[in-house]
Structures are given as structure tokens and as C-alpha cells.
């Protein structure tokens, strides 16, 4: 940030009084501008033991496979964000299950959150941010072409949980 979004004056990067971290401070209007991590929310959509993945039509990781997910928007709940992204990226209709994995990625100031989900039909189709959408059995998962580590971790948890017959909640970090 170079200019104050409130008044347009130049901002300075320094620790405000009473704070402990540097912020973008505007000396013209006195406002302090905080930057915080963003939530990326999605689903693990299942159909008869297969999982739905999307092949990315955008950078980063163009051409790689991912679970449907994207940035949570203002004015929605995390569950609403998960349903919206699943519809936008995969054209998929799902019934949302429980929150399943939550992975902090401080390198990019993100927290990734995935819900279990059950596909309601096979009418899915790629949205504008996907090249392809397909169902994969465990043996067919393109592990070397998975777009993000949070997606790979979530898929591994899911198959391990299925094998042991119990789905937990998985919170972890990628540092």
C-alpha cells in the first residue's frame, strides 16, 4: 500500500502507538490500515467413493488439478463460500457435510478450509476458471499434478480416514 484508501495521501509503514507490528499509517487523516490473512474455502465432493477435482484454467498452477475452492467473500458464511466455489468452479451441486481440514499457509497469508460434501448428481461441468472437471478413484488421483499442497494433504487425509472408517477434523500448518 502506497496511498491512503481513505484520503489519498501517502502512507508510511511504521508501528502505530500501542501496537506491536508495522502498519500502513496515514498522517494526513490518521487512519491505520491493517492487512490480514484471507480464507480460501472449498469442498471435497464425493460420488460413490470417487472425488471430484477441477483442472485449473488460471494461474497460479494452470493445468494442475485442485479441489473446488476460492477466496471467501464478505457477507457470506464459510459454508456458503464452499458451496458457491463448488458451483462456480465445477458447476456441481453438493450437500455440504462437516468442516474437514483447516490448513494455515503463512507464506502466502492464507488459511485453507475444506468441507466434506456429497455430489447430488453428475451434472457438473467446468466453470470459467476450470479446464476440466472429473471424478477420480483413489488409484487414479493425479498426485504429481495436484495444484496446491493443502489440496494434496486434504486428499490424503480423506482416503486415510475412509480406510479407517472415521472422518476427523484436520488442523495443521504448511510452514
Amino acid at each position: 500500500m502506497k496511498f491512503c484508501p481513505n484520503c489519498g495521501a501517502s502512507v508510511a509503514r511504521r508501528v502505530p502507538p500501542g501496537d506491536s507490528l508495522p502498519r500502513d499509517v496515514c498522517d494526513a487523516c490518521g487512519s491505520v490500515h491493517y492487512q490480514n490473512p484471507r480464507l480460501v474455502v472449498g469442498t471435497v465432493p464425493e460420488w460413490e467413493g470417487k472425488l471430484l477435482l477441477c483442472r485449473r484454467a488460471i494461474e497460479p498452477r494452470y493445468g494442475f488439478w485442485t479441489l473446488p475452492a476460492g477466496f471467501m467473500e464478505n457477507d457470506e458464511t464459510a459454508g456458503e463460500a464452499a458451496l458457491r466455489e463448488t458451483a462456480e468452479e465445477a458447476g456441481a451441486h453438493v450437500e455440504l457435510g462437516s468442516a474437514y481440514s483447516m490448513i494455515s499457509v503463512p507464506r502466502v497469508n492464507q488459511v485453507h478450509l475444506f468441507y466434506r460434501a456429497r455430489l447430488q448428481d453428475l451434472e457438473f461441468k467446468p466453470g470459467v476458471e476450470s479446464l476440466d472437471v472429473a471424478l477420480f478413484e483413489e488409484a487414479g488421483i493425479p498426485w504429481k499434478e495436484i495444484a496446491f499442497r493443502t489440496v494434496g494433504l486434504t486428499l490424503k487425509h480423506w482416503f486415510a480416514d475412509r480406510a479407517r472408517g472415521a472422518y476427523g477434523f484436520h488442523a495443521e500448518d504448511i510452514k
Copy 2:
């Protein structure tokens, strides 16, 4: 947002091409500025069946009781945020347990996340944002003076889970 943080020109609020929601768009430099929900992260610190609460020294809800929590910062994990806020607001040393509650509050564009935690000693003391810090048995919880609904819900889950002898993960919304 009135001015572009990147170039200082006036921004317009409209739906950019390929998007579905209005954003702050700068026609001078072409940048699009997104606003997303923020994570508020904290702990449920326990000592021999009692829970630690902080009495707020700041608005909103000055004088009301809360669990130690605050905005997650860039460059940290959710667990690190929980530990930092617990130290800052209550001067408390805790061992972090599992993620415990996650509550979307779309009205204020926040997601509140609490971890279970075990106090390591009784050396806690109010930080600059707290008037007081104290341990409460279930019968002594000041239910009518709890600062936020997310805190009240989390406390109710905790005591109900203790009564049934199993602590789950609770994801819900306040709409």
C-alpha cells in the same frame, strides 16, 4: 475505500469484467481491490476445570468478559495467533490443544476460531486490552456479561462437551 492504495487515484465501485461482485476498481492503474472476511482467533484456557476469561478494556463491549482472542496477523499460523492473543490479552502461558469452534459472523465479515488450551501456571495478568483476567467455574460464568455471541456459544459447547466426556469440533454460523 475511496482512493486507490496503489496509485492514489479515485476508485469506482463496480463489477469488474469476469467477476460477479462489485469491487473497488481503479481506472487509472487498472488495479482491483478485494475485501475479504478476517479471522479472529483465540483460546479456551482451562485450569482444573475452570476457564480463563478477560474483561475488556476496549470497545466494542468495554467491561464485558471474553475469551482471549484477536485478529490473526499476516505471517503467522492460526495456532500461533491463538497463542499470541492469549499472551497479549491475559499474560497467560498455555499449551495449545485442538481446534475447537469455528463460527462465521457474516454481519461483521469475520470468522471466529477458538482452540482448546491448558494453562501452564497461574501467572496470568491483564494485558493492555484487558481490565481483569480471572478463572471461572461453570456456575460462576458471567453469562449476562459475555462480550460476544461467539464466545458464549463456545463456552456452552465446552461445558456441554465436558459433561458428556468428549470434546468435538463445532462449526456454525451467526446470521
